[in-house]
Structures are given as structure tokens and as C-alpha cells.
Symmetry: C2
Amino acid sequence: MRTRPLKVALLGCGVVGSEVARIMTTQADDLAARIGAPVELAGVAVRRPGRVRDGIDPELVTTDATALVKRGDIDVVVEVIGGIEPARTLITTAFEHGASVVSANKALLAEDGPTLHRTAEEQGADLYYEAAVAGAIPLVRPLRESLAGDKVNRVLGIVNGTTNFILDRMDSSGAGYVEALDEATALGYAEADPTADVEGFDAAAKAAILAGIAFHTRVGLDQVHREGLTEVTAADIASARRMGCTVKLLAICERAVDGRSVTARVHPAMIPLTHPLASVREAYNAVFVEAEAAGQLMFYGPGAGGSPTASAVLGDLVAACRNKVRGARGPGESAYAQLPVSPMGGAVTRYHISLDVSDKPGVLAQVAMIFAEHGVSIDTVRQQGKSTPEGGAPPAGGGEASLVVVTHRATDAALSATVEALRKLDTVRGVASTMRVEGE
Amino acid sequence: MRTRPLKVALLGCGVVGSEVARIMTTQADDLAARIGAPVELAGVAVRRPGRVRDGIDPELVTTDATALVKRGDIDVVVEVIGGIEPARTLITTAFEHGASVVSANKALLAEDGPTLHRTAEEQGADLYYEAAVAGAIPLVRPLRESLAGDKVNRVLGIVNGTTNFILDRMDSSGAGYVEALDEATALGYAEADPTADVEGFDAAAKAAILAGIAFHTRVGLDQVHREGLTEVTAADIASARRMGCTVKLLAICERAVDGRSVTARVHPAMIPLTHPLASVREAYNAVFVEAEAAGQLMFYGPGAGGSPTASAVLGDLVAACRNKVRGARGPGESAYAQLPVSPMGGAVTRYHISLDVSDKPGVLAQVAMIFAEHGVSIDTVRQQGKSTPEGGAPPAGGGEASLVVVTHRATDAALSATVEALRKLDTVRGVASTMRVEGE
């Protein structure tokens, strides 16, 4: 074993950073044995220097992150600040000064991954980011390496713990969205401003990263279709139950059937209770991968939290350090396939549509005609009178009824055009909800 | 990209080998892009040269595997022959002639992994074996690399598809073991001689490999406690159901609570229906990993079959080839911890014990005394008369009753000593079954 220690700079010392520092200290011997060299914390950049940090030598703490990454003797920089700037500049500077980088920064990787990868490549450095997607769950490495000889066709993931907690609560207690969000906030699963989670921004960043790796294609954040879960109602969850489904906020990355394009999207969807993702409860994450030779794989675990995220960071840190010791490099970006990324209209899915309609004869025929005109085939229809007592005659002016239609698979463009046309029908008083159905 | 192709020798061309060859041909461009160099099949060693092999140039086929691995121009040898010899000698010879090796050979890795690793190390070559454990499921790489900065405390896996299929059938249909085995054989899930699967040899080899990686400790095949599932009865499965459990053949690798030793074992066990492993159906595999920082992770997928195993082999092939191109090496054996491997008696578990007892007063007190004498605490007891009509008086000589005891956690030594002592009680006519309870 080499005796000169590898030097690690830690950028950020919040929930994740402090756990990384703690494990680096308490597990130092194990890490040294696994790396083949001792590893030491050489500096910790923070914003608020005054705060006491258990187990971290105050001498190591600095507010000058730039000076730290420019020191020149740093082997690996661990970036757990989050956000675009100053993280991007610091990482770039770190590469330019000979360091490899381990990052947990999904926003930055999704926004500017290719540039960071290129800089790492030019400098002969490593860029690892397992912690950026699904916390502790090994996912980036299995996709980049274990499945490197296979052809991934589909990635279907629950990659945001906050929204899974909210949907799980709505499903198990019948609570509405606001009530479930309040509970998530009270329990610390949702932040004071939950926008990034509930509007799907967090999941979209992860979808962009996963699609990029899975399809060897750069997928920009703006190419990921994104819908949050704020409009999911207790009625939607109840409807899902009636068809043997539950509602999950899914990140879906798919190769088109002809293999010539890919799509990436985040939205709530109904999935059958028999699907392995349906039983992912509380704030857990899970990612389902369909590959041509491997078949269906699932990876499950805690998607967030200080310790789980630190586990992923440290796995990457060991890899980056091993490479430093051996003068080797890990796999870089693989974007050779450069498949076009189709907009949402090109995605193939199924819709569950709830319509409020006039309760009079001929409505179903009219509705069915609209589907047929758009080339969308209907799987099931459930018709339910609201104002008409069972067996009674409809009121003179026609009462209200609801019609629940589940389609077969069609492009999202055809499905949404169908919904638009339905809205224009005189007999359709409103489209109560539409939700996609996945995982079949 | 370098233009000189990497040369691959394939040892074995059965179900897995032919699929590896097929994918190497059909996905050649993708593999080249991911490796950074073209890769070509340079030779295929088989036992029966006469058989036609679709898509494989007959010129490449040879029966002289030794000459093939000695050629000197082979970059990577893929060994999918299985068994100890000639696989071991061929792999060693391959290393000595400059090749890296990808193997799917669980028996050999479990029996002689350390020697192979040492030879690879001496020759500066790579040894990869993702396919040796749980087929397509990325498990070896996540344990070796993704969790390299964490402390794994427990691995609990369904790693044999044949036995999971049998137990799943017994559970869903109430079939007995023989009937379920017959169905597995008819459907091709069990081999004509099912011994390796049903007696747990296959799972034990995987447990040895997993324990070795998880605990950075060499675990010999003879250190893995092994019980098959041939004695599991329909009554056991029914008992499991009554306590909200199902029966699975589990490979369990555990670090002792004091952290100073490890155990590895394979046996049938009851697990709660709420445990993620309980819903692993048919011939699927899944491995549950508990790590200190990461928490609970699960990896799920097809554990066998030509295509899934080929997927794992090809992932390793890409890794080995990338290393060849870059002049780098993957992680070698990590056995620095050298923790002692405790025998089964040291494992901590719970027992579900069914006793046939005399149906007379005082039996439960006698039985409870035996548990107390062995320091084993009882969780629940269910007492059921067999010959006594409900509320009726027992026959003069005392009829038969059954007593089902579920214990709290204790060492397997204490639990099995308790069972031995129970057998000696006059009032205990027989121990109908004992089964461990795990996953809580």
C-alpha cells in the first residue's frame, strides 16, 4: 500500500457533507485498505464558518472554496453544495488543478453534464455522480458499467422520495394532496418550499441523467417533459384503485419501438398494483430497468437522506481514489449514439380519462367517435349516472353523468388531441381528469 | 478510437456462450463505441465441434481450448464452461498468457476464487464474474464498487431460481415438494438431476462469493452452512401463511452484532409477506443488502437463463476490454478484513417449531421450561388439539395435540439444543418441523 495519503477536499458540509466527513474519519482504515492508500480530509469549504461541526478539525474549515480547489495537492474534490453556481465553476477549477470530482449535484449534471465530462476528459480526471440519482441506490454505475454490453430499452423510476411519500399517504389514507403535503412537511420529507419536488423538477433532472446514460445520448433538461403531482386528487387515486392501480410520479426514459429516437418524461401515472414499483412505499425510491438481454431489473432503496447519499458519495470516492493510485481512469461520458430526443407527443402511452357528460342517450357514441377519429382505440369504458336514480328516467333537460375511458396504447399527441376534441363536444361538460397508465 | 480490434476467446458455446457470441456480432458497433475499440471473436472452444452454431464462423470453432488460451494474442477470455476443471486450468493459463478473464463460473469462484484472483493480480490481468451470482442482476459490481465506502452488515438473497420457482408453486397452489419439482422440471426450470439446486449447493456457492465481497473476507464453500428445500412440506408453507409469512430458500451473509465475525448460510426460511423478498415470484432472483450508511437496498431480476447471463458477461467484457484499451485494471480481490467465519451455531436467528405432543395438562409448562433452560425466549405459542373435540374432555390415555412455537432471536446453537432437548421429553411425541424465521 502506498503511504502518502490521498487528499480530499469537501465542498459543502451540510447533512450529506458532514456524514461524508464522519465516515471518512471513523472508517479510515477500511477506506485505506479498499483504496490501497490512506485517504485524508484536506479541507472543508463551508458558507457559515462559525457553526460547530462535530469531528471536523476546525483548522480544515474554510470559506474560500476556490482557494481550496486551486491548492494543487488535492486528489479528489467532493462537491455536495448543490445548485448550478458556484458548484460548476468550482468543479471546473478542480479538474483544471488535477483533481477528480465526485458530485451529488443532479441539477448541475442534468444542466451541464456534457461540459463537465469534457473538461474531466481533457484533464484526464474522473467525474463520478452516483449520489445525483436515487441516493444510495447503485444505479449510475450499474447502468454505465454492468449493462454496458446490453441495450436498455426503458427506465421507469420512482426517483423522488417526497412525492412518493405524498402519493403513498394519499393512497393509504384517502387524504387530499394538500393534507398529504402538510404531513410530508411536518415529518421533514418535504422542504418549506416544495416546488422542486412537487412540480417534478428534481425528478426531471434525474430523468435527463438516466436517459443520457441509458441511451448513450445527451438528453437536455429542456427535453424532458415534466408534470408535477399538484393536480392529483383523491378522486384520481380512488379511480386508480378501482382499476387495480396506484398512482406514482414516474420518471420514464424510453427508446422508441423503431429504436431511432428516445423520450424522457416525468408525470404522475397509474401503474398496476402487481407492478414491482407499486409496492414502493413512503419516501423510498426504486428504478425499473428493461434491457434487451437482461430482461427486467429493479433497484430499490432510500433515495435521499444524509447517510444514504453519503454512502453513494463514498463509493465514488473510493473509485476515484483507486484510479488515482493506479494512474487509471473510470468510464467517461458515453454519448456516441446521439439519438434524437422526441418531444412528449411522440411518447407512446395510455390515458385514463374521466369525463363529466350529459346524461342522455347517444353520448357514449359521440365520445367513441372522437376516439376513433383520432385513431385511439378504447380499452374499457365505465359509465355512471350522477343525477339519475338507477333505473329511473333521466330528467327532461338531461342530468349529469360521468364516463371513465381507458385507452389502448397510442402516441401522447393522439391522446391529447383526443382530449382536446372531447372538450369541444356539447355533451361533454368537462374533462374531470386525465392520467397516463404505465407499467403494463 | 483505436482500430486494432480486441480479441476475445469464448470457452463454451452452450446457452450462454452462443448468446454472448450472438450479441457480440449483432451489437458490434455499440460495443466498439462503448469500449473505444472494436472487439472481435477470435476463437470458440467447444466439446462437440459437429454441432451447427448459428452466426458463428465455423473457422473459429476449435476443440482445443488450451491452444486457444495459449495463442498469445487473446485480450479477454470468456469462460462459460462451468465446473472446476478444465475451467480452472484454462483460466490460469489465460492469465499467464496475458489475457483478462470474464467468468460466469460460481462453483469455481467459490472453490478457488482467491487463487484465481492472486494469479490475475500477478499477471496484471482482470478477473470479472458478475454472471456468477444472480445472473443479470448487477450485484458483484455494486457490492465491490458502489458500496466500497460503506459497511455491509447483511446480505439476504434469493439466488436460485429453480428453488424459488418450486417454493412459489407450493405457496400458490398448495402443491407438495415433489409435485412442484415435477412442474419445474417439465417447464425447464429444473435440470434432470436437480441436486445442485434443491440441496442448496448452487446457492451456497453464491453465498460464499457474496459474503467474501461484502465482508472483505475469504469465505470458503465449506464454511457456508447449507440446507436444501427437499424437506419443506405443504404443511410448512401453510404454517408460514398462518403467521403472515412465506417460505423462501435464502442465502444469508451476516456480520455478527459485535462486528468481529461473519456467518454465511443457505436454508429455507419463513419471511414476512411484507418483506420485499416475499413478493419475488417464479424463477426470479432478488438480493436484499443492508449497509450501515446506505440502509436497505434491493436488487431484483432474472437470475439465470441464456440472455440475462449473457448480459452480465458482456457488461464484464466491456469493462475488461476498456481496461485493456486504457492500460488500466479493475478492482482486484479485497480480503483485507479477514474476519473469522463462525459456524452455523453462532448465527442469530429465530425458530418456528411444530411439535406433536400429548394432549394433557402440563405439557406447555414442560415445553416452556426447556426453552427457558436454554435461554431461548418464546415469542408466540399456538396450541391445537388433534383428537380432542373442541370443549370435550381428553381421552383417558391423553390424545395428540400440536404445539407451534415461534421463538425470539437466539443463536442457532441454543435453538437447535432446545429442539434436541424437546425431542427427549416424554410428552413430545415428535418434532414435526423446524424452520428459521428471517427478514424482520
